[in-house]
């Protein structure tokens, strides 16, 4: 969305003063978010009751989407919430991407980020209220015009009517009068039994653009006079340039400039390919820094040392030590999970244009306000001199919460007076990712004389993602005037004081009732860059806990499903999904010859998921035939999007479980592209069946909860098939 630059930023109070004197249509301007200027093209007499909705006199209904669309379908989901209360079909709503503004922050995080599977849950009330407020103002306008009590006005499908009266006015025709009505503070919302769009099948609003090659992603941004940049980064994270000979690259055809920045050496050329060819002519000597020798083995040694030195309780119930003393038998095993790349199909990229007093950024980012904070740091500009345009995003999965690609592009653009687009190669994207953290887990269970489990201990060694994320994020949370040293100080303080659930989530909240339960965490960070990755800590802890509980079932000679049900509290919503998935899959009933099943269930992001995976193993080759997934995500806003996200999460989870593995040798990442870091292809994709639990509880996440059960359900199936208990990801049969 483009905005006029009116060169000034009014505070909310200022806006109020202006409006009070000019009255009329501008009254609504007081509702404009933060210090955003009036976006170009916005009609003066439009109805704008809040930061999300606009109804123009020419009858356009516009939703300003405060989350980013990266495939999860948030655009469609949000339009459904707004349309439900506005009484307008979601496919009539035009969606524009939000600029950076305080109103658009995700309320739980205090940041304008898209993550944590929270878009629907955090907007569930707020967007429906936004729609209801708009509709009520339109109804009030119609009542005023027609001189009837407002209760007699009916607003349906974008028009107003009075029963028994032929007159019909569209929302657009009423918009300017509606803009003069009082904004209702807490409008009543539709009862679930009267929903017209929520919970019903509907079209994806972005399906058309994406079926004709018309959706514009970050990498598609084109600006007049734009140049292309590629960047040679230190091969080892934390390294830097020691010496560079740029002469040959500088002389290559099309090259505009070779620039040394803090992030590496950039080649800027007229065309992308010219930049790539010239890049090969750079002669760079690197200082590899502290991680010069790091290897994957050393990372796990670091984790093991941390556990040997002692972990701290994050949950402690009963007395595990006592249970161990009296135990008849114990089971003690070790699990591990590797670093994982995000591998978004659209490689990282960012386009920046810096002029004397303005920095404009076009980026496929999951955190536009963090992008702005990073640009502020790189340029010294103030927030209102920096404008971030978000685009369609070719896959996020958490990768684009880290703004390294924005920082790089801004650093390069500072040396140019034209716009410049930085594009990462796939190899760079694989090797310079911020990975899903690797982790090491020690588990111990105790059994009494009857063979029943009495104790569970889970020790985890892993880094904290927050420590890596907070440096950039602090800049976005801090007020705009905060000097950079103070931002750094705040970030440093956050590392010491802020809790971070990421290493222990999904382990700390083990759902099973075991009398003596102890979960402990030891912070261990080998320095490899890490970040959020679809389902974060649940992706590893789900694997570990759901594999280990399966081990316990087998150790006790019980059926894994009956075993879980016996340990789950009577009120657990996991019971329902477990039963739904296993009954639908025909758990252990008349499987074809050579087929085996595994099961897992896991709660994450407020939702409950269970999966049954059916496999066969022939000559050591794993074939996955069928996945049945039951999901309870509360009230469903769009059933087909829930199905799509389960399919997506399962396939994403299978890629990780079968192939995902980023390893290091002498400080460098060993993988580079899809040949040595594969993801699932169509022929390997199983049949997927989804079962949705009916519910009217407030909606919870769907983008991530489909991922955690995949790896353990597959590992448990492979145990059934081969007798091999695989405790390390990716799953490789001996």
């Amino acid at each position: 969305m483009s905005q006029q630059d009116n060169g000034q930023c009014l505070s909310r109070r200022d806006f109020f003063k202006v409006s009070a004197t000019t009255g009329g249509a501008l009254l609504i301007a007081v509702q404009l978010p933060g210090c955003a200027s009036l976006p170009a093209g916005q009609a003066e007499n439009a109805l704008r009751p809040n930061a999300w909705l606009e109804v123009t006199p020419d009858n356009q209904v516009i939703l300003t989407l405060d989350r980013v669309e990266m495939g999860q379908g948030t655009m469609t989901g949000m339009a459904t919430l707004l349309g439900e209360e506005l009484h307008v079909s979601p496919d009539r709503i035009k969606v524009v991407f939000a600029p950076v503004a305080e109103d658009y922050r995700q309320p739980d995080y205090g940041l304008q980020i898209t993550g944590g599977s929270t878009s629907i849950s955090s907007n569930w009330v707020r967007l429906r209220e936004a729609g209801a407020a708009g509709r009520m103002m339109i109804e009030a306008a119609a009542a005023q015009l027609w001189q009837v009590p407002v209760t007699r006005v009916q607003a349906i499908d974008g028009v107003c009517q009075v029963a028994g009266n032929a007159a019909v006015l569209s929302y657009g025709e009423l918009a300017s009068l509606a803009a003069l009505q009082r904004v209702p503070s807490s409008p009543a919302l539709t009862a679930p039994e009267n929903y017209r769009y929520i919970g019903k099948q509907s079209k994806r609003l972005d399906a058309q653009a994406k079926s004709f090659g018309q959706a514009r992603f970050g990498i598609d941004v084109q600006l007049p006079g734009m140049r292309y940049a590629v960047l040679s980064r230190p091969p080892v994270a934390g390294g830097k340039v020691k010496r560079v000979d740029r002469a040959r690259a500088q002389a290559a055809p099309g090259v505009v400039k070779v620039i040394e920045t803090a992030c590496g050496v950039a080649v800027v050329a007229e065309q992308y390919w010219q930049a790539r060819k010239a890049q090969r002519l750079l002669d760079i000597e690197w200082d590899h820094g502290e991680l010069a020798q790091i290897s994957t083995d050393q990372v796990f040694d670091c984790y093991a040392r941390a556990l040997n030195d002692g972990a701290s309780d994050v949950r402690d119930e009963g007395d595990f030590e006592a249970a161990r003393v009296t135990a008849d038998r114990t089971l003690k095993v070790e699990y591990r999970a590797p670093f994982l790349a995000h591998a978004t199909l659209e490689p990282q990229n960012c386009t920046v244009h810096i002029t004397k007093d303005k920095c404009e950024i076009w980026a496929p980012t999951q955190g536009p306000d963090i992008a702005r904070a990073v640009a502020r740091r790189e340029t010294g500009f103030s927030s209102d001199q920096i404008q971030v345009h978000t685009t369609y995003i070719g896959g996020g999965f958490g990768r684009r919460l880290t703004q390294d690609f924005v920082a790089e592009a801004v650093a390069i653009a500072r040396h140019l007076d034209t716009p410049v687009k930085l594009i990462w190669s796939r190899e760079e994207d694989t090797r310079h990712d911020h990975y899903r953290p690797a982790s090491l887990h020690r588990l111990e269970a105790t059994f009494n004389a009857e063979g029943k489990v009495t104790g569970w201990r889970h020790d985890i060694a892993a880094p904290r993602i927050l420590d890596h994320f907070v440096g950039d994020a602090a800049g976005a949370v801090a007020p705009g005037w905060t000097p950079q040293p103070m931002v750094r100080l705040a970030a440093g303080l956050a590392k010491l004081t802020q809790p971070d659930p990421s290493p222990v989530e999904g382990a700390q909240d083990l759902p099973y009732e075991i009398a003596n339960l102890n979960v402990r965490y030891a912070k261990a960070d080998a320095g490899i860059p890490i970040s959020y990755w679809r389902s974060v800590g649940h992706s590893t802890n789900g694997f570990v806990t759901e594999s280990f509980v399966d081990e316990l079932a087998h150790a006790e000679g019980k059926d894994p499903v009956a075993y879980r049900l016996a340990l789950l509290p009577a009120t657990s919503r996991l019971r329902t999904v477990l039963i739904a998935a296993t009954e639908t899959a025909g758990w252990r009933q008349s499987l074809s010859e050579g087929r085996f099943q595994g099961v897992a269930c896991h709660k994450s992001f407020g939702s409950y998921a269970a999966q049954v995976i059916e496999v066969s193993v022939v000559d050591g080759d794993i074939k996955i035939h069928r996945v049945v997934c039951a999901i309870d995500c509360g009230q469903v806003v769009n059933p087909d999007l829930v199905v799509a996200q389960m399919q997506s999460g399962i396939i994403f989870g299978l890629s990780a479980a079968l192939y995902g593995n980023i390893t290091h040798k002498e400080g460098q990442v060993e993988q580079s592209n899809f040949h040595d870091q594969p993801i699932l292809r169509m022929p390997q994709t199983p049949r997927i069946e989804v079962v949705i639990v009916k519910s009217q509880i407030s909606p919870t996440g769907v983008g991530e909860p489909g991922v955690p059960p995949v790896a353990p359900a597959l590992a448990n199936a492979l145990f059934s098939a081969t007798g091999q208990r695989l405790r390390s990801l990716p799953l490789v049969l001996a």
């Binding site: 994806r204 972005d206 079926s211 090659g213 084109q222 993801i679 292809r681 949705i692």
Partner: protein, 165 residues
């Protein structure tokens, strides 16, 4: 150098070894064709060369001079969609959408040469196209639908379950 793209002759002046992909995207400003890997591994850059699906990221522009090239912009329009594009929308195939131009171009080449492909044909034609969002089941179903065949065994199935607790 002259290129014949979507039936229109265009003059381009990129270096001869430049991959066709970048000429299409940068010089011709048709950004529907995507860059994913640059090594022929993902299919995001798929276009047609004389009716066959090729990976434009590993095709030097000089090697296609005079040949007929079709991109996603050339197989259908919103008003006159390719049957695959109709099926794609009907089944809500795209997620992030980044791979979809390439998927559609591979599928369109398949149907042009084989109007009723069986499952094996579909798998063989589509195995070179990666989708990180996991839209494969819907792509398979949409190809079946567009070619007038019975519902795909990979099609999305959904059932509802009454909450018990």
């Amino acid at each position: 150098m002259k290129l014949l793209i979507n039936g229109v002759e265009k003059e381009v002046n990129a270096d001869p070894d430049t991959p066709l992909l970048w000429v299409i995207r940068e010089e011709l400003k048709m950004t529907g064709t995507k860059f994913g890997c640059g090594m022929g591994l993902c299919g995001a850059c798929t276009v047609h060369l004389n009716g066959q699906a090729i990976r434009s990221c590993i095709t030097p522009v000089q090697s296609v001079e005079g040949a007929s090239i079709t991109t996603i912009e050339g197989i259908g329009s919103v008003d006159q969609p390719h049957p695959l594009q109709s099926a794609w929308q009907a089944l809500n195939v795209p997620q992030c959408g980044y791979c979809q131009s390439g998927q559609l171009m591979s599928a369109a080449a398949l149907l042009a040469n084989n109007p009723t492909p069986n499952d094996e044909d579909i798998m063989a034609a589509m195995t070179g196209n990666l989708c990180r969002c996991g839209t494969y089941p819907r792509i398979h179903a949409a190809i079946r639908q567009a070619s007038g065949q019975a519902e795909s065994p990979m099609a999305a199935t959904v059932a509802y379950w009454e909450a018990q607790v």
